[in-house]
């Protein structure tokens, strides 16, 4: 499998770093390799955020930010329309034959940028992730799940069960024992757990839908996961 050097650009509060963890953990669950670098800045809501993930089926030695990505994921249209990003323009450093996934419901790429992307032979996938999150999970907080779902829906680097494992780890942690002494489980914990389970299920639905969209639109690429 080839190496995917991914740069994720979004704004604070969208779960950019969280989804980078889920990307990495899903690879790890599938017995592959991933490394993750968050941008060490002063993050706050609606301010630019970047995270970098490298994934492969071979060990990864490289450290630091991904300066020359072959995958760019844009979580918020303002990264492009308002230049809310540490790296500008949004395609800065993009390698030839790479992939760009943008959360948008309209074509927001200016003509001159389109020209650059065409010259670089880039595959551009525009996809209304926030709209999907609102429709399926009832919250735009699941935008990051839609983006992760679409990335894996296109690349098929891992199986659906690996993504589920990664999302479960993120939301339930490794310490949450669901069946531990049911009588002792007081209602507060039960309520909290129930809420977490609902959250998990909604997130998984969003990911499932994103997978479906990748398939319906014929975006699935060559490196299909084979168990």
């Amino acid at each position: 499998m080839k190496r995917y050097n991914i740069r994720i650009a979004g704004v604070g509060g969208q779960g950019v770093v969280t989804s980078a963890h889920i990307l990495g953990n899903a690879m790890s669950a599938a017995g592959k390799y991933a490394t993750l670098v968050p941008f060490f800045g002063s993050e706050k809501r609606m301010a630019p955020v970047e995270a970098y993930v490298r994934v492969s089926d071979q060990p990864i030695y490289e450290v630091g930010e991904v300066v020359y990505p072959n995958v760019i994921m844009i979580y918020h249209p303002q990264v492009i329309t308002h230049g809310k990003s540490y790296t500008m323009p949004f395609y800065s450093g993009l390698k030839e034959g790479g992939m760009v996934i943008i959360n948008t419901d309209a074509d927001i790429i200016p003509p001159e940028d389109w020209q650059v992307l065409r010259e670089l032979n880039t595959r551009v996938y525009m996809f209304p992730a926030t709209k999907l999150a609102l429709e399926v999970a009832g919250t735009e907080l699941a935008t990051n799940m839609a983006m992760v779902g679409l990335f894996f829906g296109i690349t098929r680097l891992v199986g659906f069960e690996h993504i589920e494992q990664a999302v479960r780890e993120r939301f339930l942690g490794n310490t949450f024992v669901a069946s531990g002494g049911t009588t002792a489980l007081d209602s507060a914990i039960e309520k909290k757990f129930k809420k977490k389970m609902e959250l998990l299920e909604k997130n998984m639905q969003v990911i499932r839908e994103a997978f479906k969209i990748a398939e319906e639109r014929g975006w699935v690429e060559e490196e299909a996961y084979t168990p």
Binding site: T35, I60, Y61, E62, V63, G64, V67, S92, K95, E96
Partner: protein, 389 residues
């Protein structure tokens, strides 16, 4: 804390079973300290070192160390380390960038005072302008003080070099301090796989009488020459004593090489020894170099890597041998002056084949693509640069 039993140092370093953990570089350094039977740790906090000393403080709270305190600042910390070690105990400290330089007068006198200790150097920009990112220029300042200087590429190296550092440092025919350097953040705050010895095994305690100089005996050097400085007697005496003493320090430094072979598998690691073109690098730059070798292989270019683990003693003979037939030598670095390139140029006879760089500074990332550009240059490959920056 689990009950720890003392095991033979050679057994712990070379034979003990190991378990794989996914931890940060800071954790790896603290885990080595946990297994090293350290008596005291003294430090002053600075980013990115603070993570390490925080974890070592936790070890003291759990009972692994007998004493731990935050000194008034680095000069105090490094002086106190000298005092503790002369008093006969095993000591650990760590610092970063400006902190290293603040403590440096004391640190530079450790080798002459025959202080066996381990100093963690978690690199960061040396001011100014201020940055806290992992530029490694501070290692250049360490090279000429007599210390053993090891440069770790990743979390595994940090664990291995730190644990072995105590053993090498206390060998009677060495008996000088060991600096274990690695890049801040890139290694200290990032996770990697580390194979570690069991938590319930530790090194034997320091035996202060197994030494070329006795502990705290004020009548015999080096304590005597501190108390009763030769310069007070005569200039003639002072330069003579200083000269023979420093010769012995540097001879000790060279004698450490056999232990670097024994415990760390040698001062260099060579990937693809028959390569036409070599990347020579240390620390994180070696990790980037490893990827460049992989990229080059994919393009059918015969490129190898020499990772330099030990900067002092510097493996001159070994590097000369590997680079004998190389067409070109590329030295990527995380600092502006290129201290490693200077060392390589001073080591090999045909040094016009050394390409100093690529270099990044201020602590920024060193993209593998920059190393590839140098590789294309030496192979005479013209690439149309399609990347938009």
């Amino acid at each position: 804390m689990p009950e720890q039993r003392v095991v033979d140092a050679d057994y712990l370093l070379l034979e003990a079973p190991r378990e794989r953990k996914f931890i940060t570089g800071a954790q790896a350094m603290a885990e080595a300290v946990k297994r090293a039977n350290v008596d005291i740790a003294i430090a002053y906090p600075i980013t990115p070192q603070s993570e390490v000393m925080h974890l070592v403080g936790d070890l003291w709270a759990q009972g692994y160390l007998k004493d731990y305190y935050r000194a008034e600042e680095e000069y105090g910390a490094m002086s106190a380390i000298a005092g503790a070690v002369r008093g006969g105990v095993r000591a650990f400290t760590a610092t970063s960038g400006p902190g290293l330089l603040r403590g440096f007068e004391a640190i530079a006198s450790w080798p002459g005072h025959r202080i066996p200790a381990v100093l963690g150097v978690l690199t960061r920009v040396v001011n100014a302008p201020l940055s806290i990112q992992p530029d490694n220029i501070e290692i250049a300042y360490l090279l000429n003080c007599g210390m053993i200087v090891l440069h770790a590429e990743n979390q595994q190296d940090v664990f291995d070099f730190t644990l072995a550092g105590f053993v090498i440092s206390e060998k009677v025919d060495v008996y000088i301090p060991v600096a274990v350097c690695t890049e801040g953040f890139f290694v200290t705050h990032a996770k990697g796989y580390v194979n570690m010895t069991p938590e319930d095994m530790k090194l034997p305690p320091r035996d202060p009488y197994k030494a070329p100089v006795p502990p705290t005996d004020c009548e015999i050097p080096p304590a005597r020459i501190q108390r009763d400085a030769p310069v007070q007697k005569s200039n003639f005496m002072s330069y003579l004593i200083h000269a023979v003493w420093q010769q012995e320090v540097w001879a000790s430094n060279r004698r450490a090489m056999k232990y670097i072979y024994k415990y760390l598998g040698g001062p260099i690691e060579v990937v693809n020894p028959d390569a036409e073109v070599f990347i020579v690098a240390s620390g994180c730059a070696a990790a980037q170099g490893r990827e460049a070798v992989r990229y080059a292989q994919m393009e059918g270019l015969n490129v190898g890597l020499v990772k330099v683990k030990s900067i002092r003693p510097f493996p001159e003979k070994e590097i000369r041998e590997v680079l004998k037939k190389a067409k070109a030598v590329i030295v990527p670095e995380h600092n502006i002056i290129g201290w490693l390139a200077r060392e390589i140029k001073a080591t090999i006879p045909d040094n016009d084949k050394v390409i100093g760089g690529p270099r990044v500074y201020g602590g920024m990332t060193l993209p593998v693509e920059l190393i590839m550009e140098k590789i294309y240059d030496v192979f005479g490959i013209k690439k149309e640069r399609k990347v938009v920056v």
